[in-house]
C-alpha cells in the first residue's frame, strides 16, 4: 500500500514540476503578437504557396493586419479566392476585394501528334536545363519541353503530363491560379487567364515567334501570324508572328468564329461548362 501511495505521490510530483517548468518556459519565450494575425491566418488555405507574393500564409496575414485600408486593396490570396478574402476583410473591417476566378492555361499545343519528336533526350529530367542545351524534342524553340517542371512545382496537384499528348494538362477544379507554373516554365508557356463565363475561354495555344513557314515545319498547329483573327476581332494583336487574344475578348461572342477561321488551328476554345453539364445530364 505504501509503495502505491509513494509511487502516486512521486509521479504527481514529477508531473507538477514539469508543468511548472513548461509554464515558466512558455512565459519566457512568449512573443507578443496581434491576435488578429492568428484570426486572419485561420481563414487562409495554409499551403504557404507564395502566390500572394508573401513568404507564406502567416506572412500574408501579418501584412494584411498591418496594412492600411488603401494598401489592403492590393492584398489578395488567389488560392482562397473571393470567399477567403471576404472573411479576411470582415475580420479587419475593410471592404472586400473582388477578383475574377482565374486558371492557368498552356499556350502550346505541340502534342506528340502535332509536333512529332525529332531529337532524343537521354536522361534529362528538368525543363529548365533542357531549354539551355537544346531546342527541344520537337524542334520548336518556344514549345513545351514535356519534362514537367510545372507538374513538379504545382503544390495543388492541378497539373499532370498527359501520356498521349506529352503535354501538361490543367485540372481546372484544382488550379488556384497561384502562378507557380508561370514562373517556373523556362519558355513562359503558362498564362493566368480569367475562367470566363461558364468556363468558356478562347486563346492562342502557341508561343512560337518564328516566321510561319519555319514554325509550321515543326508543328502543325503553330500560329503563323496570318492576321486573320485580327479581322474578326480588332482587339487581337499580332506581334513577332504571334497572335495574342486578350482575356477581355468574349469567348461566347467571337470564340467559334475565331476557331473556325484560324488556318492552322492554333486558336483553342474551351467548352461551355453549362452546356456540357446539360449534355451529361441528358
Amino acid at each position: 500500500m505504501d509503495i502505491i501511495v509513494s509511487n502516486v505521490l512521486v509521479l504527481v510530483g514529477i508531473a507538477f514540476a514539469a508543468a511548472i517548468i513548461l509554464y515558466l518556459v512558455s512565459q519566457k519565450f512568449n512573443v507578443e503578437e496581434n491576435p488578429k494575425i492568428g484570426e486572419v491566418e485561420s481563414f487562409l488555405p495554409g499551403a504557404n504557396c507564395g502566390a500572394c507574393g508573401k513568404a507564406g500564409c502567416h506572412n500574408f496575414a501579418e501584412s494584411c493586419v498591418k496594412a492600411s485600408e488603401e494598401e489592403f486593396k492590393n492584398m489578395y490570396c488567389p488560392v482562397g479566392g473571393a470567399e477567403v478574402m471576404k472573411k479576411v476583410s470582415n475580420a479587419l473591417g475593410y471592404a472586400a476585394v473582388e477578383k475574377e476566378p482565374a486558371v492557368a492555361v498552356l499556350k502550346c499545343n505541340g502534342t506528340c501528334e502535332n509536333a512529332p519528336a525529332k531529337i532524343h533526350f537521354d536522361g534529362i529530367s528538368i525543363c529548365r536545363l533542357a531549354d539551355k542545351i537544346s531546342v527541344g524534342q520537337t524542334g520548336c524553340p518556344d514549345g513545351c519541353l514535356r519534362l514537367g517542371d510545372c507538374v513538379k512545382v504545382c503544390k495543388f496537384g492541378a497539373l499532370s503530363i498527359n501520356p498521349e499528348t506529352g503535354l501538361p494538362t490543367v485540372d481546372e477544379e484544382k488550379c488556384t491560379s497561384c502562378s507557380a507554373c508561370v514562373n517556373i516554365c523556362p519558355r513562359h508557356l503558362f498564362e493566368i487567364r480569367p475562367k470566363g463565363k461558364n468556363g468558356q475561354r478562347v486563346y492562342v495555344a502557341c508561343s512560337n515567334k518564328q516566321k510561319g513557314a519555319i514554325a509550321r515545319k515543326n508543328c502543325k498547329v503553330a500560329c503563323i501570324g496570318c492576321m486573320k483573327c485580327t479581322k474578326i476581332c480588332p482587339s487581337i494583336k499580332v506581334e513577332n508572328n504571334l497572335s495574342y487574344i486578350p482575356p477581355e475578348v468574349s469567348a461566347a461572342e467571337f470564340g467559334e468564329e475565331l476557331v473556325k477561321n484560324c488556318p492552322t488551328g492554333a486558336i483553342i476554345m474551351t467548352k461551355n461548362s453549362q452546356s456540357q453539364n446539360e449534355d451529361n445530364n441528358g
Binding site: I119, D122, G123, I124, S125, I126, R128, L129, K132, I133, S134, V135, G136, G139, P141, V153, Q210
Partner: protein, 441 residues
C-alpha cells in the same frame, strides 16, 4: 625536377583516352560554305558590318565588338557573303550567323604569313592590348571571356603571376597538347608579350604530367627565356579549372564571387596565348584554332587546324563520318562539353574538340536512391556538398541553396561522374544556381 603540384581537395581521375596525343596537327582544308556566328564569346553579340554580296578575305572584319564585353569577329575564308541571317546553331536554336561561300584562299594583306618566329616585342603595353582587342581574341579554353579585359589590370589591383593553362584535363582532347609541342616557342614568346603588358617577369606554364613530350620541349626552351618557367602538375580533373590551377600553382584562393585578379593571378589558356602571339607579332586576327576530333566511334581521330565557321560535319566526314553506333556528338570535352543537336553547326573560337561517342561510353543510366556514400563530397574540388544541393534544388529551397554556396560551383561535373547512384547531380547544381541567380535580380 620541381615537385608536381595539384589542388588539395576533391578531383577525379576519369579515363584519359588521349589517343590523338601523337597525331601532328594537320590542316583541315576549306569547306564550301562557312557559318560564322557573331557571338562566340561571353557578352553582347558583335554588330554585323557586312552585307549580302560583299566579297571578303580571310582576316576581313565581319562584325564589330559591341561594347567592352564583346569581341570582333573576322572572316576565316575568302569568298562572298551569301546570307546574313539566322541559321540553326549547335543546340538547334536559330543564331545570328554570317554565311560565306568559299572562293579561293586569299588572306588580308596586313597578315604576315611567313613562318619565321619573331622574338622581339617592340610594342608598348597599351599598343599590345589594342592589337589583342582588334584581333578579336577571347579565352579559348571554353569560357570565351574577351582577352583584352582579362589582360588590362584595373587600378589598385596587383598581379604578380601569369599562369599559362596547358593542363587540358578533359578526356580525349589533345588540341592544347599538340599546340604546345608544335608551337612551343611561339607560346613562350606569347607569354613574354603578356608579361610585358602586366609589367611582370613571372609566367608559369602549367602542364600536367601525362604530356611528357610537351614538358620536355617546353622545359628545354624556357631555359633561354627569362621570366617563363614550366610547372609540372599531377594529372587530376579538373586541374584545368582556373581556380583549381591558381590554388595548385600558387597556393592562393580566389575569394568567392571574385576574379582570379583578386588572387594576384591571370590565367590564360595556351591556345589563347598562341593567338596573342599571332595577333601581336603577325597581325593575324583570331580565325583559326586547333580542334581534336576523336571519340571511340571516330574511325580516324586527328588534330586539325580549323577555320572558325567550318561546319562540324565537315571535320567529322574527314575522320570517317558518323558510324551507326554513334550515340552522341559532343562539342568540347565529355565532362563539360555539350551534346550537339545539329552537327552542321560551325566550329567557333571556343570549340576545342568534336567527340563521337558510342552508347557504351555516353549512355545515361537510370537514377537510383542516394546511398549517402559521400563520394560526391570527396570529389568536389570546391568543397561543396552536391547531394545536399540536389536535395534543396528538388524542393526549391532557395535560401538554403544560397547558404551552402551553390554559386561557387564551377560545374565541372566531378560529382555526377562519380555518383554510383547515377544521380544527375550537376543538373541539380546548375538548376540551383539558376534559381538563386533569379532571386538576386
Amino acid at each position: 625536377m620541381a615537385k608536381k603540384k595539384t589542388f588539395p581537395i576533391g578531383g577525379i581521375h576519369p579515363d584519359k583516352h588521349k589517343i590523338t596525343s601523337d597525331k601532328p596537327i594537320v590542316d583541315a582544308g576549306l569547306p564550301e560554305i562557312v557559318y560564322i556566328p557573331v557571338k562566340q564569346h561571353i557578352g553582347s553579340p558583335a554588330k554585323i558590318i557586312v552585307q549580302k554580296g560583299d566579297k571578303v578575305k580571310a582576316g576581313t572584319l565581319l562584325a564589330d565588338a559591341d561594347g567592352i564585353v564583346s569581341a570582333d569577329v573576322f572572316s576565316s575564308v575568302s569568298g562572298e557573303v551569301i546570307k546574313v541571317e539566322e541559321v540553326e546553331g549547335e543546340f538547334g536554336y536559330l543564331e545570328s550567323m554570317i554565311t560565306i561561300k568559299v572562293e579561293g584562299d586569299e588572306f588580308a594583306s596586313s597578315i604576315d604569313l611567313s613562318p619565321d618566329l619573331i622574338k622581339d616585342i617592340p610594342y608598348e603595353p597599351q599598343e599590345i592590348i589594342e592589337k589583342i582587342r582588334s584581333a578579336g581574341i577571347v579565352g579559348m579554353g571554353g569560357a570565351g571571356y574577351p582577352t583584352p579585359i582579362k589582360t588590362s589590370v584595373p587600378e589598385g589591383k596587383k598581379i604578380d603571376t601569369l599562369i599559362l593553362n596547358g593542363i587540358e584535363c578533359e578526356p580525349w582532347l589533345t588540341a592544347d597538347d599538340r599546340l604546345m609541342i608544335e608551337k612551343a616557342e611561339e607560346i613562350i614568346v606569347g607569354a613574354k608579350i603578356i608579361n610585358k603588358v602586366l609589367g611582370i617577369q613571372n609566367a608559369i606554364i602549367a602542364v600536367d604530367e601525362n604530356k611528357p613530350e610537351a614538358i620536355e620541349i617546353l622545359s628545354k626552351l624556357t631555359k633561354t627565356y627569362v621570366g617563363v618557367n614550366v610547372q609540372v602538375c599531377k594529372t587530376k580533373y579538373p586541374q584545368g579549372g582556373e581556380k583549381q590551377l591558381i590554388k595548385a600553382i600558387t597556393g592562393r584562393e580566389v575569394p568567392s564571387g571574385r576574379l582570379p585578379m583578386d588572387a594576384g593571378c591571370i590565367v590564360q589558356n595556351v591556345g589563347t596565348v598562341f593567338a596573342i602571339y599571332e595577333a601581336v607579332q603577325k597581325n593575324k586576327p583570331l580565325f583559326e584554332r586547333i580542334v581534336t576530333v576523336s571519340g571511340d566511334e571516330c574511325q580516324n581521330p586527328q588534330n586539325f587546324r580549323v577555320r572558325v565557321g567550318t561546319p562540324a560535319s565537315f571535320l567529322i566526314e574527314k575522320c570517317g563520318g558518323i558510324t551507326e553506333n554513334t550515340n552522341q556528338v559532343i562539342f568540347g570535352g565529355p565532362m563539360m562539353g555539350t551534346s550537339a543537336v545539329n552537327i552542321n553547326a560551325p566550329i567557333t573560337k571556343l570549340t576545342s574538340g568534336i567527340l563521337l561517342l558510342s552508347e557504351e561510353l555516353s549512355r545515361k543510366l537510370e537514377e537510383t536512391d542516394c546511398i549517402r556514400c559521400g563520394k560526391c563530397v570527396d570529389a568536389c574540388p570546391v568543397g561543396l556538398r552536391p547531394f545536399l544541393i540536389a536535395q534543396y534544388t528538388r524542393n526549391n529551397m532557395i535560401d538554403e541553396l544560397k547558404g551552402i554556396n551553390v554559386l561557387d560551383c564551377i560545374e565541372c561535373g566531378s560529382c555526377a561522374y562519380i555518383c554510383p547512384a547515377h544521380i544527375p547531380l550537376l543538373d541539380y547544381c546548375k538548376i540551383g544556381k539558376m534559381e538563386v541567380k533569379k532571386t538576386k535580380k
